[in-house]
C-alpha cells in the first residue's frame, strides 16, 4: 500500500516534470530557430580561414572597433558631465517641479532611436528650427559638417543615457548616510580625505555600474549614429549594416558581429558584477534632500534645472513644432519663402504620389507598423507566458536555461538582422520575418515582466481565499487575475512599444513594399527636399506620441520593479 502510493507520487512528479518541459518548448524552439541557428551561421562565417586571413577585413574591423570605442568613451564622458551634477541635484535638493523634471529626463530612454534622431534633427539639423528661423547654421560656427554631426551624435547619446546616471548614482548618493561624513570629519579627515577615503570609495561601484551601462548603450548605438551621422561614422554596428546591404561582404559583417557580441558580453558580465556590489550597500533610512540654502546652492539648482529643461524639452518640442511649420521655399520657388503653420506634411502622408519613395502611401507604413506590433504582442505573450510560468518557481534545470532566454539581449538588433539574412536568405522577403525579429527582441523583456508577477502570487492568499469559501474559479478570479492582468497588459505594451520603434533589425530585413514607421522616417530623412523632411517630422511626431502613451501606460501598470533588467 505504502509502496504503491510512493510509486504513484513518483509517477506524478515525473509527469509534472515532463509537462513542465512543455512550458519551455515553445520559447526554446523559437530561440533555437531564430537566434541560435542564425548565430551559428554568423560564427561559422566568422571562424573560417578566408575571413580571418583577409587583412583588409581585419583592418576595417580594427578601425571600426577603435572608432566605436572612441565615440562610446566620449559619449559616456559627456553623459557623466551632465549626469553627475544632475544626480547630485535630484538626490540632495528639493525644489518645485522636481518629480516632473526627473520624469522628463527619463522620457528619452524609451523613445525609438528614429524619434530621437528626428528630434535632434528638427532642432539642430540643416533644416531644423534653429537653422531656418534664426539662421544658426554650421557656417555660423565655422564647423565642418562631419564634426557637427559627430557632436549631434554625442548630444543624442547624452540625451538618451543621462537618466541612467541620475538613477544609479543619484540613488547611491541619497543612500549615503550623512553620519559617515560626520564620523570621518570628527576622526580627523579634512574635506579632501572625506571624499577620497569615504565618499568616493562608497560611491565607486555605482559610478562604475552607471559608466558600464551607459558605455554599453553607446557602444551598441546604431539608429542615432546612422541617422544623425551617416555612414561615414563607421562604428561596428554601422559597418555591419554597410557590409550586409550596401557593399556586401558577409564574411566581414559576420566578423564584426562576433567582435560586437564578445564585447557586449564582457561589459554585461562586468556590469552585473558591479551592480551586485551596489545592491549590497545599506538601504536608505530617510531622504536627506532639502531645499537649497546658500547662494551657491540656489545658483547650482537654478542653472542646472534650466539647462536640463532646455536640453530635454527643446528637442521633444521642436519635433512636433517643426512638423507643423513651413519654414522654407517650395521646390522651384527659391525666392518665395513661405512661413507659417501647415498641416501639409500630415496630409501628404495619405497621398500615394508617383515617384514617391514607396509603392504605397506613407500612411501604409503606419498600418504596417501597427499590424507588426500586434503580431509581436501575440507571439511574445504566447511564447513568454509558459516560460515565465516555469521560471516563477524554477527547477535547477530551468535556472540553467534562464540565461539562454536572456542571451538575445546581448546581441544587437543589426546582428540579428544579419543572422536572418544569412539563415533564411530569400525567405525574408516575406513580411512575417519582421514581427519574428521584433518578438526575438521583445521576448526577454516580456518574460522578465511576467515572471515576478507570476512568482509573487502568494500561495497563502489562495489558501486563505479557499478556507473562506471561495471556489477554485473564484480563487483564480479574485487572487490570480488582478495581478496577472496588470502584468500581462504591461508586458504587452512593452512588446508593442519595442516593435513600434524597432529600427536596426527591421532595416536589414525589410523590403520596400512593407515599410514600418521607423523605416519610412529614415528614408524620408535621407531624401532631399522640404516636403520629405516635413513628412519625416510628421511621422516621427506620430511615433513619439504613440510611444509616450505606451510609456505612460507601462508606468501606470508597473508591477513593483518588474521589467527592470
Amino acid at each position: 500500500m505504502r509502496l504503491s502510493s510512493a510509486l504513484s507520487t513518483k509517477i506524478r512528479s515525473c509527469l509534472s516534470a515532463n509537462s513542465r518541459i512543455l512550458l519551455w518548448i515553445p520559447a526554446l524552439i523559437f530561440l533555437l530557430s531564430t537566434f541560435f541557428f542564425p548565430l551559428s551561421k554568423i560564427l561559422a562565417l566568422t571562424f573560417n580561414f578566408s575571413t580571418l586571413t583577409d587583412l583588409d577585413n581585419l583592418l576595417i574591423a580594427r578601425n571600426s572597433l577603435l572608432f566605436t570605442f572612441y565615440q562610446a568613451i566620449l559619449s559616456t564622458l559627456l553623459t557623466f558631465v551632465l549626469g553627475l551634477p544632475s544626480a547630485v541635484l535630484f538626490s540632495k535638493f528639493n525644489f518645485p517641479g522636481k518629480s516632473l523634471l526627473r520624469a522628463l529626463t527619463a522620457v528619452p530612454f524609451m523613445l525609438p532611436t528614429v524619434v530621437v534622431a528626428a528630434a535632434f534633427n528638427s532642432l539642430l539639423g540643416e533644416r531644423g528650427l534653429l537653422a531656418t528661423t534664426f539662421d544658426l547654421r554650421l557656417s555660423t560656427f565655422d564647423l565642418q559638417p562631419s564634426i557637427f554631426n559627430f557632436l549631434l551624435i554625442l548630444a543624442a547619446h547624452t540625451f538618451y543615457n543621462t537618466s541612467i546616471v541620475i538613477r544609479i548614482v543619484g540613488n547611491a548618493i541619497s543612500r549615503l548616510d550623512p553620519k559617515l561624513e560626520a564620523s570621518a570629519r570628527s576622526l580627523g579627515a579634512d574635506t579632501f580625505h572625506v571624499w577620497k577615503d569615504v565618499i568616493f570609495p562608497i560611491l565607486r561601484p555605482s559610478l562604475l555600474a552607471a559608466a558600464l551601462l551607459v558605455f554599453m548603450f553607446d557602444f551598441t548605438s546604431f539608429g542615432v549614429i546612422l541617422l544623425l551621422g551617416g555612414s561615414q561614422f563607421a562604428t561596428l554596428e554601422v559597418e555591419i549594416y554597410i557590409r550586409a546591404l550596401q557593399l556586401p561582404n558577409l564574411n566581414l559583417a559576420a566578423l564584426l558581429s562576433v567582435i560586437q557580441l564578445m564585447f557586449t558580453l564582457i561589459f554585461s558580465i562586468l556590469y552585473s558584477r558591479t551592480i551586485n556590489q551596489v545592491q549590497t550597500q545599506t538601504a536608505p533610512r530617510f531622504s536627506t534632500a532639502r531645499p537649497p540654502k546658500t547662494i551657491q546652492e540656489k545658483l547650482f539648482v537654478t542653472t542646472l534645472c534650466l539647462l536640463l529643461s532646455a536640453f530635454f524639452l527643446l528637442p521633444l518640442l521642436s519635433l512636433p513644432i517643426r512638423s507643423l511649420t513651413r519654414l522654407e521655399a517650395d521646390r522651384g520657388q527659391r525666392d518665395q519663402v513661405q512661413y507659417g503653420f501647415t498641416a501639409d506634411y500630415y496630409e501628404e502622408l495619405f497621398i500615394n504620389r508617383r515617384g514617391s519613395l514607396f509603392y504605397v502611401p506613407p500612411v501604409q507604413a503606419a498600418l504596417n507598423s501597427l499590424g507588426f506590433a500586434v503580431i509581436t504582442v501575440i507571439l511574445s505573450l504566447a511564447l513568454g507566458y509558459p516560460a515565465a510560468y516555469a521560471l516563477a518557481k524554477p527547477t535547477r534545470l530551468e535556472k540553467i536555461l534562464d540565461p539562454f532566454l536572456m542571451l538575445p539581449l546581448g546581441a544587437s538588433a543589426v546582428m540579428m538582422g544579419l543572422g536572418f539574412i544569412l539563415s533564411f536568405g530569400r525567405l525574408i522577403a516575406s513580411p512575417f520575418f519582421i514581427p519574428i525579429a521584433h518578438t526575438l527582441i521583445a521576448l526577454p523583456f516580456v518574460i522578465r515582466t511576467l515572471q515576478p508577477a507570476l512568482a509573487s502570487i502568494p500561495e497563502r492568499l489562495r489558501q486563505v481565499a479557499s478556507t473562506l469559501g471561495a471556489s477554485p474559479f473564484r480563487v483564480w478570479q479574485t487572487v490570480d487575475l488582478p495581478i496577472l492582468s496588470r502584468a500581462t497588459l504591461s508586458a504587452a505594451t512593452f512588446a508593442f512599444t519595442v516593435s513600434l520603434g524597432e529600427f536596426g533589425a527591421t532595416l536589414l530585413i525589410t523590403r520596400p513594399e512593407y515599410p514600418t514607421i521607423p523605416i519610412a522616417i529614415s528614408r524620408f530623412l535621407s531624401q532631399p527636399g522640404g516636403l520629405n523632411y516635413g513628412q519625416a517630422m510628421a511621422m516621427a511626431t506620430v511615433l513619439m506620441l504613440l510611444t509616450t502613451l505606451s510609456i505612460l501606460l507601462i508606468e501606470k501598470l508597473r508591477f513593483n520593479n518588474a521589467g527592470e533588467l
Binding site: A182, S183, R185, S186, G188
Partner: protein, 351 residues
C-alpha cells in the same frame, strides 16, 4: 575643560536652543537628557564643529573653537546607528582616525606598527579580539557599536560624545555595553558628553546630569541630587521620579489637591494652579527645605502589581472618589483591591 557659553540656535526658522551654558570638566561624564527633538543632537553637532551656533561660544580650555574645523578638534563621536564605514573592515574602521592623524602631522607620522598595536589594544578593550578582518556590515548591532566605540577611542580624543549610543540595542545588551563604556571612561579619564532620553542610562553613567527643556538647561546637578529634588515637573517627568499631581494654591500656605489639602508654601499667589511631586519619603529623612512637607494621605487601592521584592500599588484618592488620576506607590505587603490605606508621602513644590 569644555564650556558652552549662551549658545543660541534655531531650526528651520524656529528657535531650538535659546540659551545653553554648561561645562564639562576633565575626566567627567556629563549626561544630556531631553525629550526627542529638544536639540540634544544639535548641541553635539555644534561641539563637534559640524554645525554652528548663531550666538554664543564654545570653548575648550578657554580657547574659542569657532575657527577650528571639525577635523582639527580631536573630538570623538559615537552615533546611535553606528555610522561605520561600510567599505572598510573592522580593523580599517578603527584605524581610520589614526591614519588621518598620521596624515595631519607630517613628520610625526604614526608608524604602521604603532597603528596595528593600538588597533589590537582597542579590540581587546571592547571585547572584539579576532574581529579585525570581519566586514562591519556582517556584525550584530552590539558588535557594530563596539567597533564605533573603538574607532572613536583610537586617536585618543580630547572629548568623547555619545549620541544615544544604545538606543538601537535590546535591554540586556544595553546594560552590558553601558557598563563597558562606564569602565572605559573611568579608565581613560576622557571627558564625555552622553546624550540620551533614557533615565536609567543617565543615572548609571553620569557624574552630572543636564536636563534640556524648551531650549535651555533647566537642571544641572549630580544624579542623586536630581533624584532627591527634581525641582521641575519636566525633570521629574523625564526621569520618571515620583508622581506628579495637579494642585491649586488656595491660601498663602495651603495647596488643595484631590488627596487633601497640604500646608505647603510654594511661592505662588493664591488661586494659581501648580504641580506637586509626591514621593514616598526616604527611610532616613534628611534635612527638609521649605516647599516640602511630609503628609499622611488616604488612598483606595485599584491595582496591585508584583515587582521583585515589593508590590507596586496603583491607588486613587479616597477623599474625592471621582478624582481623576491616581498615584503609584510601592509597598512591602500587598493590600487588597478596594482597601482604603493610609500612607505617608513627601510632597514637594514643582515649577
Amino acid at each position: 575643560m569644555l564650556e558652552l557659553r549662551n549658545v543660541v540656535k534655531s531650526y528651520e526658522g524656529k528657535p531650538l536652543l535659546t540659551d545653553i551654558s554648561f561645562t564639562v570638566a576633565e575626566g567627567e561624564t556629563v549626561c544630556l537628557l531631553g525629550a526627542s527633538g529638544s536639540g540634544k543632537s544639535t548641541i553635539l553637532r555644534m561641539i563637534a564643529g559640524l554645525d554652528f551656533p548663531e550666538r554664543g561660544a564654545i570653548l575648550l580650555n578657554n580657547l574659542d573653537l569657532a575657527g577650528t574645523p571639525p577635523h582639527l578638534r580631536d573630538f570623538g563621536l559615537v552615533f546611535q546607528d553606528y555610522g561605520l564605514f561600510p567599505h572598510l573592515n573592522v580593523f580599517d574602521n578603527i584605524a581610520f582616525g589614526l591614519r588621518m592623524k598620521s596624515i595631519k602631522h607630517k613628520g610625526h607620522e604614526v608608524h604602521k606598527g604603532e597603528i596595528d598595536r593600538r588597533v589590537y589594544e582597542l579590540l581587546e578593550q571592547v571585547n572584539l579580539v579576532g574581529f579585525d578582518s570581519r566586514k562591519v556590515t556582517d556584525l550584530s548591532g552590539g558588535e557594530q557599536q563596539r567597533v564605533a566605540l573603538a574607532r572613536a577611542l583610537a586617536p585618543s580624543p580630547r572629548l568623547l560624545m555619545f549620541d544615544e549610543p544604545l538606543g538601537a540595542l535590546d535591554r540586556s545588551l544595553k546594560e552590558d555595553l553601558l557598563n563597558e563604556i562606564r569602565g572605559i571612561l573611568h579608565k581613560t579619564k576622557i571627558p564625555a558628553i552622553y546624550v540620551t532620553h533614557d533615565q536609567e542610562e543617565a543615572f548609571t553613567i553620569a557624574d552630572r546630569i543636564l536636563v534640556l527643556h524648551e531650549g535651555t538647561i533647566i537642571r544641572d546637578a549630580a544624579p542623586s541630587e536630581i533624584w532627591r529634588d527634581p525641582q521641575f515637573a519636566a525633570v521629574a517627568k523625564l526621569l520618571g521620579i515620583g508622581n506628579i499631581i495637579e494642585a491649586e494654591m488656595i491660601l498663602e500656605n495651603k495647596v488643595k489637591t484631590v488627596f487633601g489639602t497640604f500646608n505647603l508654601n510654594c511661592v505662588k499667589n493664591a488661586g494659581e494652579k501648580l504641580q506637586l511631586l509626591i514621593q514616598q519619603p526616604p527611610s532616613l529623612s534628611g534635612e527638609r527645605r521649605g516647599g516640602e512637607v511630609i503628609e499622611q494621605i488616604q488612598l483606595t487601592v485599584e491595582d496591585i502589581l508584583f515587582k521583585q521584592d515589593q508590590f507596586q500599588v496603583k491607588a486613587r484618592g479616597a477623599v474625592l472618589s471621582e478624582s481623576k488620576g491616581g498615584l503609584v506607590i510601592h509597598m512591602k505587603e500587598a493590600p487588597k483591591v478596594g482597601d482604603v490605606i493610609t500612607v505617608q508621602v513627601q510632597v514637594k513644590c514643582l515649577s
